[in-house]
């Protein structure tokens, strides 16, 4: 028994974050993912770039892990021909160019179908392959703006909040789902499909209930850490510099347990807080009460007390907390990856655990540019050494 997507091959033309995260997830599930770049146009995230004011490594290592790397110059006619040969032995071609670019390169869906009749073309873009804004360029913060998620996030008296890379990766996770769904359809019908994932629509899909409220005439708006039903509900200060603990009380039983746990059982008898509606009405007062207690304890200690009492609570974690967590390590949600240069780094695994088959996850680190050409061009496509040398001399494999 292998990994579930073993035998599925992806010709991966995606760049940046959203598309590569999609194919990275699929590769962790067992798909063979061949990443196509060139020396002239490497994935922009492969090279250092200004990140928050400093020149540093981008975010390439995580999403490039597990992938095979080859070079093809897609601006060269022989390059697109070579790419079509790769697609002809693939199940999925994935791309994240602006709509229209792939077709201009001679690699549009019909062209790829001519190479492989049942190919699944997975396109990930800012605004989708159709519609008046399809030519718009964008990144994660723009997706969150267009799709309303950024608009609705923030303090009630403040501005919208910029969504960051979690937005890209949510697009990628949706795209991975769509790709596997398309594989199922191909198995059932023998037909490939062009799958079109629009990042701004992914952002909108995360505020479905707000969109429905608006459709009914409502005006959903930013509400900070408030919840429409629960109170106490929020991020409260813990002992220490910039440490916080989140608490959410979702029932009368949890409220009574909280009151007991924080050493204030009389609160459970306070008529203002006796019902969920009452607690919600008086949530500002409750927030002050809870914050007074949380500020006296390290977050971990408060979390332990509350979880033991059956109250949903968790410390507001930084990346350092996450990387060190035994639970996430035990689940392989966080793993260590050994890079070819000897570095060892933490990475996220695939957020799925299966009871059968070979272990899924990251098997190897970041490929160097063109590292796997012997396998892909040689074994897979059957090019001879001389043919490869000629293509290199022509600037096709470059």
């Amino acid at each position: 028994m292998g990994r579930p997507l073993a035998g599925v091959r992806i010709a991966d033309f995606t760049v940046h974050a959203a598309g590569p995260f999609c194919t990275h997830m699929l590769s962790q599930l067992g798909a063979e993912c061949i990443k196509i770049e060139s020396a002239q146009r490497p994935d922009i995230f492969r090279k250092p770039h200004p990140v928050y004011g400093r020149m540093g490594p981008a975010s390439f290592d995580q999403v490039a892990s597990n992938k095979l790397s080859i070079r093809i110059n897609l601006k060269h006619p022989k390059g697109t021909a070579l790419a079509r040969r790769l697609v002809a032995v693939s199940d999925i071609a994935a791309e994240s160019f602006r709509p229209g670019v792939l077709a201009r390169l001679g690699l549009g869906y019909e062209s790829l179908r001519a190479a492989k009749a049942d190919i699944i073309l997975l396109s990930v873009s800012s605004s989708g392959q159709s519609g008046p804004d399809s030519h718009f360029s964008g990144y994660a913060p723009l997706f969150g703006a267009w799709g309303g998620l950024g608009t609705l996030t923030g303090f009630a008296d403040g501005p919208p909040v910029e969504m960051r890379h979690v937005m890209d990766h949510t697009v990628g996770l949706n795209a991975a789902l769509a790709a596997v769904a398309a594989l199922h359809r191909r198995r059932a019908t023998g037909e490939g499909q062009h799958v079109d994932v629009a990042a701004r629509e992914v952002a909108a899909s995360l505020i479905g209930e707000a969109l429905l409220l608006a459709a009914a005439g409502g005006t959903p708006s930013r509400m900070g850490n408030d919840h429409p039903r629960m109170a106490p509900h929020g991020a409260y200060p813990a002992k220490g510099e910039d440490r916080w603990i989140t608490i959410a009380v979702g029932s009368d039983a949890e409220w009574r347990a909280l009151a007991q746990a924080i050493g204030a059982p009389q609160l459970a008898r306070d008529p203002r807080f006796a019902t969920e509606a009452g607690r919600h009405e008086h949530r500002a007062e409750l927030d002050r009460i809870v914050a007074r207690w949380t500020a006296t304890l390290p977050g971990d200690a408060a979390m332990a007390v509350l979880q033991a009492a059956g109250v949903p609570a968790h410390v507001s974690w930084t990346a350092g907390d996450i990387v060190a967590d035994p639970h996430l390590r035990a689940r392989r949600a966080i793993v260590d990856v050994d890079e070819p240069d000897g570095r060892r780094r933490a990475a996220v695994g695939v957020p799925i655990r299966l009871s059968k088959g070979e272990a899924i996850g990251i098997a190897r680190g970041t490929p160097s540019l063109g590292e796997h050409e012997d396998y892909v061009f040689g074994e897979l496509l059957g090019l001879t050494r001389a043919e490869r040398r000629e293509l290199e001399d022509d600037g096709v494999i470059h």
């Binding site: 974050a17 997830m25 922009i44 200004p50 928050y52 004011g53 400093r54 540093g56 989708g128 159709s130 519609g131 804004d133 723009l142 703006a145 799709g147 309303g148 998620l149 950024g150 608009t151 609705l152 303090f155 501005p159 890379h165 979690v166 949510t170 990628g172 996770l173 949706n174 789902l177 596997v180 359809r185 059932a188 994932v197 629509e201 909108a204 899909s205 479905g208 707000a210 608006a214 009914a216 429409p228 039903r229 509900h233 929020g234 409260y236 916080w244 989140t246 959410a248 059956g310 949903p312 410390v315 507001s316 974690w317 996450i322 035990a330 689940r331 949600a333 966080i334 957020p351 799925i352």
Partner: protein, 392 residues
Amino acid sequence: MATNAPLAGRRVVVSASGVAAAYAGRLLRVLGAETILIEPPGGTALRREPPFLGRSGVSALFACMAAGARSFVCDLETERGRVGADALLGTSDIFIDDTPPAERERRGIDQAGIAGRHRHLVHVSVLPFGAAGPKAGWKAEEINLLHASGEGNLLPNGLSHELFPGRPPVKIYGNFASLQGGIAAALGGLAALWDHAAVGGQFVDIATQDAAVAVGAFAVQRFGDGSVEHRATRSFRYGGVLPCADGHVEVLTLEDHQWKALVELMERPAWALDPVLDDPLERSRRGADINARVRDWTRSRRVADLVARGQTLGVPIAKYNSPAEILADPHEQARGLFAPVAIDGVGSLAMLIAPFHFGGQPLALDRGPPALGEYQERMPPVRAAPVLAAGV
């Protein structure tokens, strides 16, 4: 279902009191599977979860999560109910469940029990911290999971943090982390089903925390690279959320040509033409000064004008849309992002279908949320087998 729906012919049973499991079912439904929600006699707790649609008492959240599904009431605390669930599961491909681990065996839906009776079934467990690991029994709501995954600690950033530096971190609107759990559950279920011929049914263990950690991957990678992200500093030094005369826009210029396009958009002000700003690192160093000038400039401009001209020039720029604006957006209408669905007690409302097209077409959503138990009549009468009724 639409002819382009990839999962036509598949059947999924969902037992969900939370968003993550329900959303997994919703995704598989819109992808073409028949989805049946099994509910306790009073209905799933999601039916009572605000926000509500006007004074109808209908949960907008439930309506979104259960649209297109069937509802079958079976009380898993009774033998009859468990037998009814088994009858459904016997004809299904995937079972998605978020019942707390301690209650599963009693309800007959524990891993071993399901595997023993339904060897063909892909059994997807969706829990806040998963079914295995030291925290498997822990409780969490959305805000806890968002912070357990790290993203909660990193917001707000940019303009919001500048305005309110002393406030606690702010959560992402709605159910962001839980929805990640749902997407991962749908993906895990389909991946396991893909492998069905080789391994048969199996148990798929999804933790919403894992899924939310996964989409926060770059914070983990950058930690390994030696930098700890913080909401106070996790923002590009210029651009971001920009106030306008009638709303906000988002601008992000990662590449030199995009910066030059922004300069064009601002009609080439003298300060922006300083050659020193040709260096992207220098622009970052002077980001606060640049942003003060850019904000001064945008503050008197209208959003629609900026976005139209900016995108034409090649500036990555977007409007911060309200939900009503998204509903009315010509782009989304052209792409068929919304479909009218009937909601009992409310009427017909536009509902988002799914964020992907197949074969050049949007998917279909042909029904709103189900009335409680509306599927009951379609099922043959369920009788407890004598040996089971005896309590074995």
